[in-house]
């Protein structure tokens, strides 16, 4: 069989394949350079950025759970100024769309961040984090109510012409309701899921393990929840969905695509296998070739068929 078409279009962001990095797991594109070329990726989603520098949460920030990992990093980042001046320019050399994940303490900060980042020629899209479980203000609080979520997205849309991706939290009663609200507010795509709020108690110390008490659960343990949410959301919205949560193989990624995702993102899987992203890309191509699929887009949502 000839070439398999892996390229996808996520809200006007042209990607040579559907595999992206998940925000907060790939630094600013420098950390995995020794293991594979960034050029191979569909898109790079860099570490979450805030208006001012954030030192992050207190230690311990990590605890391992069965087939999972709970983190409470707390959006540690050097602030948007340093990101714009020092970190993003070095990504210009790659022929890969760069998507910047943004978080604000208040609605206006999201708008300000969007405006500032739109000035960079490197940035091809904004992922709006309304789902971080690890910060006191903003974060998940914005993503838990349809009205607040829509308000943030409208603010961002007002401040940028870049494609706007809303990153949703799984820690809600009805994810479809939030998805429809952000779509209505103008979101050009939807990322889901962020991490699931969780905690572990050290029974010897009789205390929570994490310095921040709770954190976000990721890894293979959360995958069925993520696939279910992509399935529910992708059938109800018209905008493309980026699926993420526990992907470590092409087979995992295919579940998300068949559930309706246009693209997928890899995070914790990359910590386990530093070549995870490229292994998944290759695995997707192999699957298509073996199964006579000419275009990966033909697999999107196939599991909906009765």
């Amino acid at each position: 069989m000839k070439e398999v078409k892996l390229s996808v279009d996520v809200a006007g962001i042209q990607m040579k394949n559907p595999v992206m990095t998940a925000s907060g797991t790939f630094g600013f594109g420098e950390v995995y350079e020794d293991f594979f070329s960034n050029e191979l990726l569909g898109a790079m989603v860099v570490k979450g950025v805030t208006l001012k520098a954030r030192k992050g949460n207190s230690a311990p920030r990590l605890v391992e759970t069965p087939a999972g990992l709970i983190n409470s990093i707390g959006l540690e980042n050097p602030g948007v100024k340093v990101v714009l001046q020092e970190l993003l320019p070095s990504l210009k050399k790659y022929d890969v769309p760069v998507i910047v994940n943004i978080s604000g303490n208040v609605v206006e900060e999201y708008g300000e961040l969007a405006g500032l980042l739109s000035s960079s020629s490197v940035v091809k899209g904004l992922e709006v984090n309304i789902s971080c479980p690890n910060v006191k203000e903003g974060g998940m609080a914005f993503g838990s109510s349809p009205e607040m979520a829509a308000k943030v997205i409208r603010e961002v849309k007002k401040s940028t012409n870049l494609p706007v991706i809303a990153k949703l939290s799984p820690n809600v009663t009805n994810v479809v309701e939030i998805a429809l609200a952000v779509e209505e507010a103008g979101a050009d795509a939807i990322s889901l899921i962020n991490t699931l709020l969780g905690m572990v108690i050290d029974i010897k110390r009789k205390k929570p393990v994490l310095g921040n008490i709770m954190g976000g659960l990721s890894g293979p343990a959360v995958r069925p929840v993520a696939v279910r949410m992509v399935w529910q959301v992708a059938q109800r919205v018209k905008v493309p969905v980026i699926g993420m949560g526990g992907i470590s193989t092409a087979e995992d990624a295919l579940q998300f695509i068949m559930a309706g995702a246009t693209a997928v993102a890899i995070g914790t899987g990359q910590f386990v296998n530093p070549c995870c992203c490229v292994d998944v890309i290759k695995g997707l191509e192999d699957f298509c070739r073996k199964n006579g699929i000419k275009n990966i887009n033909d697999l999107r949502g196939v599991a909906w068929n009765e």
Binding site: G27, V31, L62, L69, N71, Q270, F271
Partner: protein, 259 residues
């Protein structure tokens, strides 16, 4: 340069103490690029639990044969899995990672002070710096069971001590350190071991104004500076900051650590 070796052949695996093992694997890329104090990040499961790799400091390398040696103690699921790996089987390894000891020194009088498994990286450091420096080791632990029994293969002098006197002198490494400081002028101390030991080391070295480097440990996910998980409170450019053990360390100057 960091390498991912998904099939590093295990060529030797021996029990060298109570729950302590010495494991040697073939990974020429890592052996040739490593420096003392760096670590390898090893997959310790065939499935998803434990999910994360385990960071283990490099105990020695043989650049010619392309071999890397580690010592580890069985403390949980990951190291339990590792202890069952047989010679002839393969490990999935990333390395060499992190910032190691400042080993580019010449003509110095150096003390290496290790506690328990913290002795491991100092063996590698000692074998490298003893070529151009006077190196002496002070190694200790609770009892003889936690002191690796293959220590004698090291190529520099060392003294042993245990809290119960079951091997070497009875006492703490800090007791032996104080004795040594009475005898001669020390230019630098390199240390690795449990946090209370390192804290005691820092007190003595700052009193004596001797430069001190310590190797720290932490629970890690990525091992390469991506996840920002292995944070501890220290100082960068004079300001308090969350330093990362995997990338900023695991070796730090005492002035970088908030004690």
């Amino acid at each position: 340069m960091k390498f991912h070796i998904p099939n590093a052949l295990v060529v030797s695996h021996k029990k060298i103490g109570d729950k302590i093992y010495s494991l040697i694997f073939n990974a020429p890329e890592i052996a040739n690029s490593a420096s003392p104090g760096q670590f390898v990040h090893i997959r310790c499961s065939n499935g998803l639990d434990p999910l994360l790799r385990r960071p283990i400091s490099i105990n020695d390398v043989d650049k010619e044969k392309g071999l890397v040696s580690i010592w580890y103690q069985v403390v949980g699921k990951g190291t339990e899995f590792l202890s069952k790996v047989k010679v002839g089987e393969c490990l999935d390894v990333i390395g060499a990672l992190g910032r190691g000891f400042d080993s580019n020194i010449d003509g110095k009088n150096v003390l290496l002070i290790g506690g328990g498994m913290g002795i491991a990286p100092l063996i590698y450091l000692g074998s490298v710096i003893s070529k151009k420096n006077t190196v002496r080791g002070i190694f200790g632990g609770r009892n003889k069971d936690v002191i690796p029994c293959i220590l004698s293969e090291s190529n520099f002098d060392y003294e042993l001590c245990t809290e119960d006197g079951s091997i070497g002198r009875e006492g703490l490494v800090t007791d032996l350190l104080e004795d040594q400081l009475h005898k001669e002028k020390i230019d630098a101390i390199y240390s690795c071991g449990p946090k209370p030991m390192l804290t005691a080391m820092q007190r003595i070295s700052s009193r004596e104004e001797i430069p001190l480097q310590v190797s720290l440990e932490a629970v890690m996910a990525c091992g390469v500076g991506a996840c920002l998980g292995c944070a501890f409170k220290g100082y960068r450019d004079g300001e308090e900051a969350w330093l990362k053990v995997c990338k900023d360390g695991p070796v730090f100057w005492d002035s970088e650590v908030k004690w």
